[in-house]
Amino acid sequence: MEKQIIMQMKHITKRFPGVLALDDVNFEAYAGEILALCGENGAGKSTLMKILSGSYPRSAYEGKILIEGKECRFTDTEKSERAGIAMIYQEISMHLDETVAENIFMGRWKKKKGIIDWKWMNQEAQEYIAMVGLRARPQELLRNLSTSQQQLVAIARALTKNPRILVLDEPTSPLTIQESDKLFSILHRLKKKGIACILITHKLGEVFANADRVVVMRDGRTISASRMEETSEDKIVSEMVGRKMESYYPKETAPIKEVVMEVKNVTVAHPYAANKNIVEDVSFSLRKGEILGIGGLVGAGRSELVDAVFGKIRKNSGELFVDGRKVTIKSPADAIRAGIALVTEDRKTDGIVGGLSIRHNIALASLRELSGYGIMKGKKEKAKVEELFSRMGIKAPGTEVLLQQLSGGNQQKVVLCKWLMRKPKILILDEPTRGIDVGAKAEIYKIMVSLAKEGIAIIMISSELPELISMSDRVLVLAEGKLAGELAREECTQEKIMMYATNIGNQ
């Protein structure tokens, strides 16, 4: 295939206070390809793409950008959009109090005689919504959609721009396999039309299934650029991590001991739809040293189930027993006291405090333990934070760095540290590896295993079936808020999980 270079970035250098995020990076994309961009958390992938999209203005970095051989100077995103670049951002959320249609057309409202034409926009939005496979009305408020549905809106938004270069920064992190497949079929279609799709992802499976080329970054530099057929998964991983990696899933079965938690008949009402339960009459038990996976389609109510257990949202009924004793959980504080920890699904809204330092964030759930008479024990805090900080390999100049300055994956590690600090009896992880690089993923799996060995019980919600299958001792499958099935490790296959999840298994 003779393809022509559509975009080149030359000698790009970008500094943040105290960090050299990009160091003389060269990067190019061809028309009509799907180009994967891989690298560890903090390698500089998002930063590079933000420069391309004009999100960082021309004055904020060194180097130049050529689009079809012409040098471009983007001062804002509108300019780059005009040059045919559209981007789906990793960290930027949308306007939750506006409708789907509004979010899709924000900044590019369609006007008729100077007046915004809502009718047209709603119709047009409907088409794109259908294209990305979203089941929602254009007039729906974004707030009422789940995270994955919101992501689909973002994708729809990018598609409306008819871009020549489409950048997707970890688009599939919040998506299920079906949704991802849908997305990739769209990307292949775009590719055929000669559009360059740049895909940032930590899921190497996706890369090999869909990409034409892959560029690997490490520490702000491009390490390699190769066609898929010239490389292998192991090679990419070692280029990313800078060393050889053993298996991703270091699952060893820890001795599973007595029941530590029992959940009985949890029901949660749907926040908006009347007479509908988002979680209905779910019961399960959890043993020490066990990793319990929860699978299901998006919207199955997995998050709501654990949120209700943790007291984050109100449950309509249900009982909880920890160590055989009944505990009343009305708020997260009650759950934490009972020894439960929850790494939430969306770190931005309820996982981190962006304006505070890493240290403050890690200590946040353990303030009482790190203090005496209400006064923080500074040395103890620092020591424990430093220990976790280095154990998790968080990439930052130090523990006093503000969380909002970290890359997405490193933020996730901080959230994990926050809960590990508490040494919980029960650790609930809702999509724990979302947006995390392979190295760190393996690290998190290792930690899960070692925690399990210590006798901690772990619940893991995951939409990545390989991860779910390899890491769990047992998998619960939810479908439409009800418990659809339970699979022991031995009988766990992708097919079985999907069968239950789509409610075929129940018959």
Partner: protein, 322 residues
């Protein structure tokens, strides 16, 4: 928001909530003192509401865009004073005097926005500073002496009526209609909402934050200016202390009307009701023969209860539906 009739669209459930306490206040006062619904009183009330409303619409836009404007009280006073000075001291024609007042107001708005957008100084500080500066300029111009020899046609503006309804009511209605329309159906309005909802998202969506914010402060200032000129006309006198503390009344009225102090959501109709509550309370206290020394206690309590009813209703609506 579904595709409903126009009426339903305007009075979406959001605004109806805060309407209830206002109706309660009106009903109770009318029963206790029928004079409350006398023609005279209703017209006077309409007049006060209309003038405050004009200023509040500008501030509604400011709050929706996630900004803050403490200078509206000073701007109101300044515009009235400048217009008064042109009429009284320079014997200028009415149109010129009004233009001069509005120009002075717009200038303060422009000053606010330029400092805020170019130098990234918090809006609270900038508009506090311009509140001081504006009040200072008023003092320098007037030395406390009001201007007051106005031609009859200028006085008509704030005192005259058409079909028994004060002109200011028509003006306020017009501005309100334009405002409500602009918020929903113009690029400016949508951009304002977007900026207030999430500035970063708005920025990467290619919205020119600087321009929109600038426009918003100028609109706010011009609205305050119109209110100031109408007040001067209504009183036949441009007072040096006109508008002192007005910014708090207005921000409160807007927030009572359901606009968020932190941007991203709000409604013009809500602001109308918020203003109506604040203005009605002033008169209702006297009409209900509440002792002057107790009035503030009652007003404070009613403000909290009014918004409380609204909040309760909304949370109930949410859980009922769910």
């Amino acid at each position: 928001m579904r595709e409903n009739s126009m009426v339903k669209k305007v009075f979406s459930s959001k605004e109806v909530g805060i309407l209830i306490p206002w109706i309660l206040i009106c009903v109770i006062t009318s029963i206790a003192n029928p004079a409350f619904i006398s023609f005279n009183n209703v017209i006077n009330l309409l007049r006060s509401v209309s003038i405050t409303l004009i200023g509040s619409i500008g501030v509604t836009f400011v709050l929706i865009s996630g900004q803050l404007d403490l200078s509206v009280g000073s701007i109101m006073g300044l515009a009235g004073l400048v217009t008064g000075m042109f009429l009284d001291k320079y014997q200028a024609p009415v149109w010129l005097a009004i233009l001069a007042g509005l120009f002075a107001a717009a200038l303060v708005g422009l000053f606010n926005s330029v400092i805020i957008t170019k130098f990234k100084i918090p809006a609270l500080i900038v508009t506090l500073g311009s509140m001081y500066i504006g009040r200072g300029i008023i003092n320098v111009i007037s030395k406390g002496v009001p201007f007051g020899s106005f031609p009859e046609n200028f006085k008509q503006l704030g005192q005259g009526t058409f079909l028994g309804v004060p002109y200011s009511v028509y003006i306020a209605f017009l501005i309100m209609a334009v405002g409500a329309f602009a918020l929903k159906y113009t690029v400016y309005g949508r951009s304002t909402m977007a900026i207030g909802g999430n500035m970063e998202t708005a920025r990467v969506s290619g919205i020119h934050i600087g321009r929109i914010v600038t426009l918003t402060y100028v609109i706010s200032a011009v609205c305050a200016g119109i209110a100031g000129i109408l007040t001067a006309s209504r009183l036949s006198s441009a007072q040096a202390n006109a508008g002192t503390g007005w910014e708090m009344t207005i921000v409160s009225a807007v927030v009572i009307g359901g606009t968020s102090m932190y941007g991203g959501s709000g409604s013009i109709v809500g602001t109308l009701i918020g203003v109506a509550i604040m203005e009605t309370l002033t008169v209702a206290m006297t009409m209900l023969r509440v002792d002057a020394y107790w009035q503030k206690v009652v007003v404070g309590a009613i403000i909290i209860i009014a918004v409380g009813i609204d909040t309760y209703r909304r949370s109930k609506a949410a859980s009922d539906k769910g």
